[in-house]
Amino acid sequence: MKAFRIIFISLILVFLYAPIAVLVGNSFNSSKYGQKWGGFTLKWYEKLLENDSLMTAFGHSLLVAVLAATTAVVVGTLMTLAIYRYRFPLKKTTSSALFILMMSPDIVLAITFLVLFMALGVSLGFWTLLLAHTTFCLPFVVITVYAQLKGFNPYLFEAAKDLCASEWQIFTRIVLPLLLPAIAASWLLSFTLSLDDVIISSFVTGPEYEVLPIRVFSMVKVGVSPEVNVLATLLLVVSTISIAIFVLLTKNKQLNKSN
């Protein structure tokens, strides 16, 4: 029985990793179509660096991911504070809107954003991309930050109030420092979500601001391209590092709880 369990788990992991392993292997494979091993090479890495349109798209994607994650973290943390500490009209509606935002399939969000931008007459590009990405990252920030905020002793805030701290002081001196791990973790999460997004990006950006997924999509649809393997390998390294940091950060949170 135990052997069976281990075999099953291993098979699933092989299923999850084999395709990625093939990509990473092929990124070093000098044979173009990657069906046979043609010897070790770094030429695809050079090719990627020379591929201007791909590198520009990569740069755009990184920029949007960094800015969207940062904006989402700022807005999301303030939103969490509002939901946790303040009473205001339509509070319930706000929470359900966040829930809908999280559950809605990307395709639905994508068209809601597109219809909004068209109705407002905004031309599609950097700003629409940034707004859309920030918005779809928000619920994930709120969930992560709220989970940590709930773990705090509520008397902290009351003690601060008794000592005549203003809301701004409570936010900057108590909430922010204590929430730092959750904030950093949700930044990384948002960064990855934004970098990974295909569906929403293909609706809310225009031809003059091409991002990575759209560029890759058009390359991959036509046929096999070794530069994509290289890109996959590099992205894998980036995500491995960010998930490692994410795990360390959320682990600290559990420590805090037990203390």
């Binding site: 809601t112 609706f203 890759v216």
Partner: protein, 286 residues
Amino acid sequence: MLSFRRLVIILTLSWMAIMVVVPHFLVLLTSFFTPDSQHLAVWPLTLDGYSKVFQAIYIDVFLSSLWLSAIATLICLLLGFPFAFILSKFSPTTRNILLVVMMLPFWTNSLIRTYAIKIILGKKGLINTGLLGAGIIDEPLNMLYTDFAVIFGLVYILLPFMVLPLISSFEKLSSELIEAAKDLRASAWQRLRYIYIPLTSPGIVAGCLIVFLPAMGMFYVADILGGATSLLLGNVIKNQFLVVRDWPFGSAFSVSLIIIMGLMLLLYYKANRYVQRQGGLDDESL
């Protein structure tokens, strides 16, 4: 002067209103408009968009894409349920390590993972080479550009989403229940039927929900892996918005998708309530 508190509340409400509530209403409104090549959607209000959804060709597309997503969800459940069950038997440390290992591929770009599947399933890909080498088949299988490839891709991309809620359901399940069942000589099948499945049902429903809903929208999976007829709802919606430019019809399609989502959320809510009721009984008896 505006206080900090007021600013935070205004920011929260206006962001949600402008970026979430208003756009959803706009889509709903668009779905009742008349299509127009110049202005995308114009007065007067009509139900044409919806009647198009129910036209024979689109009903076929609708049903076949629901079918593809449903099969992918079912396979995810059949793989994910035992996976989560086995994982829940490990010590917390091993479990967490395995979870991180499982989640790692999920963090790489899903478009690139779809491309990886394309390479694996090709005529000279890993699977065909392996099967030919092992002598199981004589000719390479035609897997790419079929419904099978689309389902394979969806399962590959979405499996981790199924496992996560299941794991948390299994963790909540008390081992005493299982021991009691064993004492009462319940067979493995009876334990599965009367304990594991009912008590992990919120996890099952949540998992199916977060696999099924995105699966319907992943147009790039069908575009890259599927043949001409393997379409997902996402392909239809994308075509209507970006190619054909029949926005009212595209919106009507999306509203139908939202309605399906609403029904599934209702089911999730019911499953949760069901388990809480069962749990309440257990508390009384202890």
